[in-house]
């Protein structure tokens, strides 16, 4: 596309000096005149190039490069504004227009969107942290020390990941609180609430699996306390109701499966790492896709809707 833009000017102007040079080598007498013609030609080309640059800077949106990236014209028309959202892969989850009261902060508190933003931040900082971390009992703790003292901005990176995780848990809970208070789980959004509950659980699991990774006393004992609950699982845990009767021991019950052993050790660290960095993010992302898609398909954001009066309740249809 870029070549097309220069096509009108460049080949034509490039031709002139080349012709002059070719003739100049033949006859020495015309040399002075030819040289002047070449210089004049070069000056004209330069002026033209400057003119083109000026135009490009003045109106970059008219270049073919720009058009090729953005696909549609963006002028000051309502149609363009709508297309700007609809034809953009990152923005196309939005509708072109929204209820004018829905953009007010007081209705949604912005919690769902901010949660997603914090999630993106966590994926970003988490990926960077993965460059400096080995999920192995021998070096995991040392990697954190190294990260904090030697890696440029390593401490900031780890802090952002840690506090971002806490912030995400708080925001998810507040988002749920808001959705409940506005009754947004009611028809037709029942299923999206279910997806949201699963996302809440996945958020807590993400945070919990990350807790073990620094391999320090805090994470170790928190995860020990947490997974000790699993041994008391009814039927499936060796200390749970009816577990021993079903042949559960510390070496074959559900806790063993979670930890990859009977104690929190190297296998548990590796499992926490894989759940934390690969498995749960993929599962959570899949549910997020469904969650956001359903928000649109269920008619966009739930309100603020006009209030309904008690006298307007319709009788329930019996099946």
């Amino acid at each position: 596309m870029a070549e097309t833009n220069g096509h009108d000017g460049k080949p034509a102007s490039a031709g002139t000096p080349a012709d002059g040079g070719g003739n100049g080598s033949g006859s020495a007498g015309n040399g002075g005149g030819k040289l002047q013609a070449v210089i004049a030609g070069a000056k004209a080309t330069q002026a033209r190039a400057i003119e083109e640059l000026k135009e490009t800077i003045k109106a970059p949106e008219k270049t073919d490069v720009w058009k090729s990236v953005l696909r549609v014209k963006h002028d000051e028309t309502p149609r363009s504004r709508a297309l700007g959202v609809l034809s953009n892969v990152f923005l196309h989850l939005h509708p072109a227009k929204v209820n004018r009261d829905a953009v007010a902060y007081n209705y949604t508190w912005g919690m769902g969107g901010m949660t997603f933003y914090v999630y993106i931040t966590l994926v970003f900082t988490g990926t960077l942290l993965m460059f400096y971390y080995h999920p192995s009992k021998i070096v995991a703790f040392r990697d954190i020390l190294y990260l904090e003292s030697d890696v440029p901005f390593g401490k900031l990176l780890r802090n952002m990941h840690r506090w971002g995780a806490h912030l995400m848990v708080i925001m998810v809970e507040l988002h749920m609180f808001r959705v409940f208070l506005t009754g947004s789980y009611k028809k037709p959004r029942e299923f999206n609430w279910v997806v949201g509950v699963l996302l809440l659980v996945l958020t807590l699991l993400l945070s919990f699996t990350g807790y073990l990774l620094p391999d320090d006393q805090l994470g170790f004992w928190a995860v020990t306390v947490g997974t000790n609950m699993a041994r008391a699982t009814p039927l499936l845990g060796h200390a749970g109701p009816f577990g021993p009767q079903l042949g559960m021991t510390p070496f074959n019950d559900v806790r063993f499966g979670l930890l990859g052993g009977s104690i929190v050790d190297a296998n548990a660290l590796l499992r926490a790492y894989i759940w934390h960095c690969v498995a749960i993010p993929i599962i959570a992302s899949a549910f997020m896709v469904v969650h956001f898609w359903r928000v649109r398909k269920d008619g966009g954001i739930s309100g603020p809707a006009p209030v309904m009066l008690e006298s307007e309740i319709k009788d329930v249809r019996k099946i």
């Binding site: 004018r100 703790f141 802090n159 409940f180 009611k186 170790f220 306390v225 603020p304 809707a305 309904m308």
Partner: protein, 311 residues
């Protein structure tokens, strides 16, 4: 008053989210309920004036006849999203620059931390361990919380309050959720973080965490109080008491569901299945505060003692 101890607890990096929670949860509760009450006043006005109900746009937001009902996402929504992203980034940056993430000594299975606490968002469950055995507090209750949250849309047959804040039209569901979220979830987290000290003992904020403190609590089982000693006797007695609780709680919840004329109207819309599911979850939810009270007031550890499980 040991202010230093209080500061040590509050300033622990991983406890900062709880301190944040102490501010944001009350704020947003107030923020949501304030809008709910504003809508309730509007609803009252519209109900008393049918002519107004026909012409009013039925929102508390300002409205003029010439205004468009919808606005463009670009720029009116996107600029807010952009601004929110910047603000969250700034908050996260400032928080991360001023406060370091905790890192303690390398993990050591031979050196137990006291108190050894779960991550803060699970402290409600850990606090529950005081009142229930691990299979109940760590497995059954969390599973029931998750499933119970999921079934909410399917058992709430009240069609009002869909997409706007209201308290008057959804008193029962809002009070139930606030009870579950704030009283049972958030406040248990706060107790687990700020009050539980070494040995998971209760230390009021401001008292010193004494690692040598001993509490001589005589926790008894309910059958022992009644002098029942046989294994079979305990099983039958416990089953009867738990059955009595389930019955009493069921009746209480039924009374609440059918208390007002409006509640009865909503109750009539429920199918039998919806009613049974709702009763099941509410009765189990109510068991938690009841067990807490029984434990704290009468020092009773177990109600139902069997060879396989204790409740």
């Amino acid at each position: 008053m040991d202010l230093h101890q209080l500061w040590t607890i509050l300033s622990l990096p991983d406890n900062v989210p709880i301190v944040l929670l102490l501010f944001v949860v009350p704020f947003y509760t107030w923020y949501g309920l304030r809008q709910a009450f504003a809508n309730d006043r509007l609803i009252e006005q519209l109900e008393s004036d049918p002519a107004m109900a026909k012409t009013h746009h039925r929102k508390v937001q300002p409205y003029k006849p010439g205004w468009a009902r919808e606005v463009h996402v670009w720029p009116y929504l996107l600029r807010i999203e952009f601004l929110a992203a910047i603000i969250v980034t700034v908050i996260l940056m400032v928080w991360s620059i001023t406060l370091n993430a905790p890192l303690e000594e390398p993990s050591n299975p031979t050196l137990t931390m006291n108190p050894s606490k779960a991550p803060w968002y699970f402290l409600g469950l850990q606090e529950m361990l005081v009142y229930f055995d691990p299979w109940m507090a760590g497995v059954v209750m969390p599973s029931l919380i998750i499933v119970g949250l999921m079934v909410i849309p399917y058992i709430d047959t009240n069609p009002l309050g869909n997409g706007y804040y209201t308290y008057k039209q959804r008193k029962f569901s809002i009070l139930t959720f606030i009870f579950g979220f704030i009283v049972l979830w958030v406040s248990m987290i706060v107790i687990g973080t700020l009050i539980r000290g070494p040995g998971w003992m209760w230390f009021w904020p401001g008292t010193t965490w004494d690692h040598n403190r001993l509490i001589f609590e005589v926790n008894r089982d309910l059958p022992d109080i009644f002098g029942i000693t046989g294994r079979l006797g305990k099983i039958i007695f416990g089953a009867i008491v738990v059955g009595l609780y389930l019955g009493a709680a069921g009746v209480l919840i039924h009374k609440l569901i059918t208390k007002t004329a409006f509640n009865r109207k909503i109750y009539k819309r429920m199918s039998v299945l919806q009613y049974v599911v709702m009763q099941t979850f509410l009765v189990i939810m109510l068991a938690l505060p009841v067990k807490i009270l029984v434990r704290l007031m009468f020092r009773i550890k177990y109600i139902w003692v069997t060879p396989w499980f204790n409740i």
